[in-house]
Each structure stands twice: as structure tokens, then as C-alpha cells.
Amino acid sequence: MRHNKKFNHLGRTSSHRKAMLANMASSLIESKRISTTLAKAKALRTYVEPLITKAKDDTTHSRRVVFSHLQNKNAVSELFRDVAVKVADRPGGYTRILRTGNRLGDNAEMCIIELVDYNEAMLTSTEEAAKPKRRRSRRGGKKEEAPAAEAAKQAKPVAEKESATAEAEEVKAVEDVQPVEETEEKAEAEVKSEASAEAEAEEKPADEASEEDKKKEE
């Protein structure tokens, strides 16, 4: 059974695949950007990123280990001399894959794979754009709610009364539909519902005020 064996063989024997990935990795390191199929690019990513990480530690041993994978001395020297310096403070994720459409002939999904630190246009624009959208957690939702609350506050005098009365009416309507078993209880419930509606109306401004305070703090 082929459970959990996700490795993509790319339709090649092991030796063929290794040779191809070695050539592609050398090309990527030497020219910084190559155009290939999406499947090969994804395979190359898992092949070349550990090698780049290894290149951060410039020792004879790591050079030999990397050479055993690349089999290309020019690529190895380029990797340890130039690429390793550029990626020094990047914790992984050295490559970027961008899809470019389908190839004529066999309709293969094509893409470019490039070294992130060598795309100058993207580097400058990402540094500019990085600051405003830093928060990805869902806890930052209050920022978005705050303007809505403010808008609601402007329309508060009319809208809130309406909503409160509407709620009370709804509650009454629901209770009216129910079969009348004990009138006394029903009357009590109505009173309670009205009271609760009023309580809700009172609570709303308080909530808004607290949200506003939070917003000011932010």
C-alpha cells in the first residue's frame, strides 16, 4: 500500500532523479532564477534548501557534503561565497515559486523558482509592505470591530430604540404563539422579557464605551 508515501519520483529512477536535481540546483545557484515545471520546482525546493542552510557554515566538511550533492565545483564556490552571505539572516525559505502558466505542447504547469534574496524588486517592496500587515492572529479582530461600533454609535439614538422595541415585540410574538397554559407565568415572562430587553439596551452603550477605550489605548 502507498500510504503516506508522498515523495514525487518525477517519473525517473533514483539515479536519474538525483542527477537531474543536482543539475537544477547548480543552475539555480548560478543563475538565481530558473524556469521549470511546477512539480520539478517543488522537488528542487526540498533538495536545494537544506544545501543552502548547510552553506551558512563554511567548513571543509560542509563544502564536501554539498559538493557530493551538487557535483559542480563552480556552483559550490558560488553558493559558499555569495549566496551564503546573502541568506545569512534568513531562517529557511530561501526560494520562491511563482506560477507562469501552462506550457505549449504538453500543457505542463510552468513556474519560475528563484532565490528570494536575489529578487531586488520584491525585496524592496516587501520591506515597505511588511509593516502594516504583521498581525495574523484572530485576536486582532477588535480593530476591525471598532469602526463598526463607532458607526453604530452615531446612529444609536434612533437605531437602538428601534432594535430594543423590535426585540421585545419579537419575544412577545414568540410567546403568543405558544399555547397558553398558565396566564400568570406568561405575564411574568413578558415583564421579564421587557426588562431583559431594557437591560440589553443598557448594556450596549457600556460595551461600546469599553471598546472605544480599548481603541484609544491601541
Binding site: R99, T100, G101, A121, M122
Partner: protein, 61 residues
């Protein structure tokens, strides 16, 4: 080995193939040049992706 007893008629073959349908790709418009582009793809007209110049137009083909 099991073998088909009779040839599949043209009707039967074609009826089977009525479910073979091509699907349209989801398309978007490029934020830079307004061309129609596939989602998650570099714009083939101007080489922009997510509002940034990713590749020069010559390389984009």
C-alpha cells in the same frame, strides 16, 4: 481472464462520455494592467504578481 462478451456500441460509449466535461479556469484581472489572468499566476502581459513587478515582460513570454 475475463473478457467482454460483446462490443460496446457507439451509443453506449458516447453515453459514457457525456460526463467528460471541460471546466473553465477561475480568472481574475491584473491589478497593474487590467489583463485577464489566472489566479496565483504571474500576469503574462506585464509580469506583475500581487502588485509587484516580479519578472520582466520578455522573460514572462
Amino acid at each position: 481472464m475475463a473478457h467482454p462478451k460483446s462490443k460496446t456500441s457507439k451509443t453506449r460509449r458516447d453515453k459514457r462520455r457525456t460526463h467528460y466535461k471541460a471546466s473553465l479556469p477561475t480568472l481574475a484581472t491584473c491589478s497593474n494592467c487590467g489583463a485577464t489572468v489566472k489566479y496565483h499566476h504571474i500576469c503574462p502581459e506585464c509580469g506583475y504578481y500581487r502588485g509587484k513587478q516580479v519578472i520582466e515582460k520578455e522573460i514572462a513570454v
